[in-house]
């Protein structure tokens, strides 16, 4: 499956590695060259220095051929924006969006996006580790 991943931060880089190992055709885009360096050149993922909020950059990253798009960048608003653009404009069937703010999660679930919010999960892991 052709997958475009926006965001090559710590989370994005792990997702990319995992997807490539599962045999998917992965393109990862990020506006920072530094972030893209997290992707090893020998991994076999394509990297693209570009902005997932811009239509032209999404096209260049191959969004029109993609079956899935993962918006896992640092900023909630950018993730939500890019995810909606890809879902409703490019009609990519599978779109997952990362939102750190759990308050906005429900709203976007209602709109029909798949939203993952790590904040709650991580905070409960921390509390559990503390033994609370």
């Amino acid at each position: 499956m052709k997958v475009v991943v926006m965001g090559s931060g710590r989370i994005g880089a792990i997702i990319v590695r995992e997807l490539v190992q599962q045999g998917h055709d992965v393109t990862v885009m990020d506006t920072s060259m530094e972030n893209l360096r997290r992707i090893s050149p020998t991994l076999g993922a394509k990297t693209y220095l570009g902005d997932g909020a811009l239509e032209d950059d999404l096209r260049r990253a191959g969004i029109e051929q993609a079956q899935a798009f993962l918006a896992v960048g640092q900023g909630d608003a950018r993730n939500a924006f890019a995810a909606q653009k890809v879902r409703f404009l490019f009609k990519v069937p599978k779109v997952v969006c990362l939102l750190y703010d759990p308050l906005r999660q429900q709203m976007y679930l209602d709109i029909g996006l798949s939203v993952v919010s790590p904040s709650k999960v991580i905070s409960s892991m921390v509390l559990e580790a503390m033994g609370s």
Binding site: A53, A77, A82, F88, L103, R104, M107, I111
Partner: protein, 222 residues
């Protein structure tokens, strides 16, 4: 009316001033601490510091009782999300957004932002009007309809010059709304009024009527 402005750069700052002067209750939300401090120093406590696309910040701003939210940051993603949060979480009746990238306009509209403003498109419309050979210029869309206002410049040798307005056969769903003559005087169109050369005819019409309208008003007299 209670109005929240998200983004207090140039556009937001002047909106804040203008709307406050118009006796509205207005609050601006600005993320940049320096900009926020400047606004507060100059205009008093009319600005809140924070990210106006966040639920918690909008809650603090009292978005649940806001009548209008205007998002005018330099980032389309923040403008869109601020409007969506306002609409879906706080039931704000009217959301207005600036799009910095004109190609984002259809997306904003399809996602339920009530009014979408693109300065690029606004300036383009003026450039079209000033520079192009085209005599029909798109002025603005009419909200919640498929109609828009167009302006047509009547050339001196047009067939319609000297004809009364009521004799014109207009395309369906089209209304002549205003006639501005070459001396800059505006008239509400009256049936017997004669079309003069260099008139600017302002018409509410659907996009598909453009070609017919342009031909009607600019066809040269044989």
């Amino acid at each position: 009316m209670y109005i929240i402005i998200v983004g207090c750069g140039k556009v937001g700052y002047y909106l804040l001033k203008a709307l406050t002067n118009a006796e509205h209750e207005v609050l601006a939300i600005e993320q940049d601490p320096l900009r926020h401090a400047k606004v507060v120093e100059e205009l008093g406590s009319v600005a809140l510091s924070g990210d106006g696309s966040e639920v918690a910040v909008l809650a603090e701003a009292g978005a649940n009782r806001a009548d209008v939210l205007i998002a005018v940051t330099g980032h389309d993603e923040d403008n869109l999300v601020a409007c969506q949060v306002a609409k879906h979480r706080f039931n704000v009746k009217k959301t207005i957004a600036l799009v910095n990238d004109p190609s984002d306009e259809p997306l904003f509209k399809s996602l339920g932002v009530d009014v979408v403003v693109s300065h690029t498109n606004t300036i383009l419309a003026h450039v079209e009007g000033e520079l192009s050979e085209q005599s029909l210029v798109h002025m603005m869309p009419l909200p919640r309809t498929k109609l828009r206002l167009v302006g047509i410049h009547v050339p001196p040798d047009a067939e319609v010059v000297g004809k009364p307005l009521h004799e014109l056969v207009l395309p369906t769903n089209t209304l002549i709304s205003l006639v501005v003559n070459r001396r800059g005087q505006a008239h509400i169109p009256a049936p017997g009024q004669l079309i003069e050369s260099f008139d600017e005819i302002i018409i509410a019409s659907p996009p598909e009527a453009d070609a017919e309208l342009e031909a009607l008003f600019t066809r040269v007299r044989q």
